[in-house]
């Protein structure tokens, strides 16, 4: 029988050190890394995006600066709800939150974002002006384009009006979570504008009556394109590039009505526990090496001017001079004010 005593022997000390090393190896934590700059909690989507943030920013750029970066993974609705729920607390639980430009605007309007101190972000001197907000920074962008399978859609579309047309019947696919951009594209195709989505509703209802498929997520759409259940849809060009790489036989067309911009970026919650660390992370996010790696790995365009993107990648993911002229930014004020009403129409009338 083993004797129990509280003496600290050499053997016990060795065992404890071994156990600590084991825990450190499993958890990816090491006392050596502990944290001159502290911990930065990053709210982000999961999957590839989170992995690439770790691979391209956290590990190569933040760890050498003695920061520990922890990802709080979740969909943006949940993370926005969390920001709201934590608003009254003196200390929140996250330091940086990844959101779309429209969501960043909405969160700032709700009074939840810390004004960005650009003096602490030297790399922001190369930030594209469209992606420099008083309350956040753009990280990557893409544009809404048309995807079609030439085998199923024999006449190549040139516009949103061609794509969102009832003649496609059940070969037209619509992504449920993309309701804002779908209504926007339908509006642009029907004489509406970025501040008036109303004219597009009739077009969408006609497509729905003709049998357009409503798919829940981007991933479901990728599968439907791959299976050739869907022949035409609208989506970010970056996603189209990923799906083409995965084997989907789709072509992309930049719509002639304009290419609505999708910008993804980051804000700092007002009650972030580590505001300095958050600014450091945002600065590292704008490092050319990080942005170049993101363009290559994920197919999104970076938000800085000093990144050296290979010509082949640029051609694949970017927009030519003519297309760049047609890139149009969203009216975030209109969206923030009308989002609830748009979603209600989408759920009750369009899907109902």
């Amino acid at each position: 029988m083993e004797k129990h005593s509280s003496e600290i022997t050499r053997r016990r000390l060795m065992k404890a050190a071994g156990a600590l090393a084991g825990v450190a190896a499993i958890g990816g934590w090491s006392p050596a890394e502990a944290q001159a700059g502290g911990r930065v909690v990053l709210g982000t989507w999961g999957g590839d995006y989170s992995k690439l943030l770790s691979k391209n920013i956290d590990t190569p750029l933040m760890v050498p600066k003695k920061y520990e970066v922890v990802h709080d993974i979740g969909g943006d609705p949940e993370r926005r709800a969390k920001m709201r729920a934590e608003a009254r607390l003196p200390r929140g639980t996250s330091d940086v939150q990844g959101l779309s430009a429209a969501q960043m605007y909405e969160m700032n309007e709700a009074g939840l974002c810390l004004p960005i101190d650009y003096a602490k972000i030297p790399n922001a001197q190369y930030l594209l002006p469209q992606m420099r907000y008083p309350y956040g920074l753009g990280h990557i962008y893409s544009g809404k384009v048309i995807l079609y399978n030439p085998k199923l859609i024999t006449t190549p579309p040139t516009s949103f009006a061609d794509a969102l047309d009832s003649r496609h019947g059940n070969k037209l696919g619509i992504i449920d979570i993309q309701y804002q951009f779908t209504m926007m594209a339908a509006a642009l195709a029907s004489g509406g504008s970025m501040t008036n989505y109303e004219p597009g509703k009739e077009r969408l209802m006609a497509c729905r009556k003709a049998g357009a498929r409503i798919l829940p997520t981007n991933e479901a759409m990728a599968q439907a394109l791959q299976n050739e259940e869907v022949g035409i849809c609208i989506m970010w060009k970056a996603r189209a590039v990923q799906w083409q790489k995965a084997g989907a036989k789709v072509e992309t067309v930049a719509p002639k009505e304009g290419i609505p911009l999708y910008i993804s970026g980051f804000v700092i919650p007002k009650n972030a526990p580590n505001k300095d660390g958050a600014h450091v992370w945002l600065n590292e996010m704008l490092q050319p090496s990080a942005q170049e790696a993101f363009a290559e790995d994920m197919g999104y365009n970076g938000s800085i001017t000093n990144a050296k993107i290979p010509a082949e990648t640029e051609k694949r993911i970017g927009f030519n001079a003519d297309e760049r002229k047609r890139l149009i930014d969203l009216d975030y004020g209109y969206l923030a004010k009308n989002d609830a009403a748009l979603k209600e129409w989408w759920d009750k009338t369009f899907k109902g």
Partner: protein, 303 residues
């Protein structure tokens, strides 16, 4: 042989012992359930504005909006219909299975019970993912149907009520089987044998003897299945898709998608109240139905 020494019975302060026993669970229930429900109810009386999201108020407008909007009422009635249908099918499927489990003398009885419990080891979302593989347009079912030449085009099974009903039944069935089996185990086999011996056929024995005696299990299984189906979330989202809307996902969408917490909270309370009322009503009806014949005096004739 183990000798067991008699211990003196403790007599002091039984009230304190009872309080100490009940306190941990009561604290957990209060903090984990009652408190959030109270907060949620308060939120449901607030107002929603797109800019500020939630403004402190004391209004019933969120409840009025739900109860006067045909869309939300349709979602509620659809949820009740699906829950009732799934519960009825679960009872029909579970009763024979539970009866066999209760009456079997096989040495594999424990294995059979484990087979019923086994699906509970897998989460709802994972099970729904399995159904997605089966029901997809290029899934197992459609591949078989098209391979055998029964259909030319794939059948649309995913994102339909059928898919949701199948998915919910698969989730609820083990709960109903286990509830019924526990009650059926307690029914003395001699009572069935007596009924059969007195000339009642199997159907009459089931209807007049087994079913009334198994009623506590039927009621418990009904309540359990109905509550689970009314509040189902993962199955309607994954198998019902964007167009088949039920209450659970719609409540979540108000909170997370639209940030309309006051209306989401009101919807949650409507769902909770509807579930409670329907459960109590079904319980009352079932108990009433089977109490009467049991309580009726039997006239015996001696010649």
């Amino acid at each position: 042989m183990v000798a067991v020494a008699a211990r003196p019975v403790r007599t002091g302060a039984p009230g304190w012992t009872a309080a100490a026993t009940v306190a941990p669970a009561s604290i957990v229930v209060t903090i984990g359930i009652v408190l959030p429900i109270v907060i949620l109810f308060r939120y449901s009386l607030n107002q929603y504005t797109p800019a500020k999201m939630m403004v402190d108020a004391f209004t019933i407008e969120n409840y009025a909006k739900f109860l006067t909007d045909p869309f939300y009422l349709a979602v509620l009635f659809r949820t009740i219909r699906v829950a009732a249908l799934c519960t009825a099918i679960c009872l029909v499927l579970a009763f024979p299975m539970a009866y066999c489990l209760a009456r079997t003398r096989s040495r594999f009885k424990n294995l059979l019970l484990m087979a019923v419990i086994l699906p509970l080891f897998v989460g709802n979302a994972v099970r729904a993912a399995g159904w997605m593989v089966l029901f997809g347009n290029r899934g197992f079912v459609n591949s078989i149907l098209m391979g055998l030449g029964i259909t030319r085009e794939p059948l649309q099974i995913m994102y339909t009520e059928f898919a949701v009903v199948v998915g919910v039944i698969a989730v609820n069935l083990p709960f109903v089987v286990l509830t019924l089996q526990a009650v059926l185990e307690g029914i003395d086999r001699a009572i069935e044998e007596a009924a059969l011996g007195l000339g009642a056929g199997p159907w009459r024995t089931f209807r007049h003897v087994i079913l009334p005696l198994a009623m506590p299990g039927v009621i418990a299984g009904t309540i359990l299945s109905f509550i689970l189906a009314m509040n189902a979330y993962a199955t309607p989202v994954l198998l019902g898709g964007p167009t088949f809307q039920m209450m659970g996902p719609t409540v979540y969408n108000q909170f997370a998608g639209l940030s309309n917490w006051p209306f989401g909270a009101a919807m949650a309370f409507v769902l909770m109240t509807a579930t409670l009322l329907l459960t109590v009503a079904s319980n009352w009806l079932a108990q009433g139905r089977y109490r009467r014949p049991m309580a009726r005096p039997i006239k015996l004739k001696f010649e």
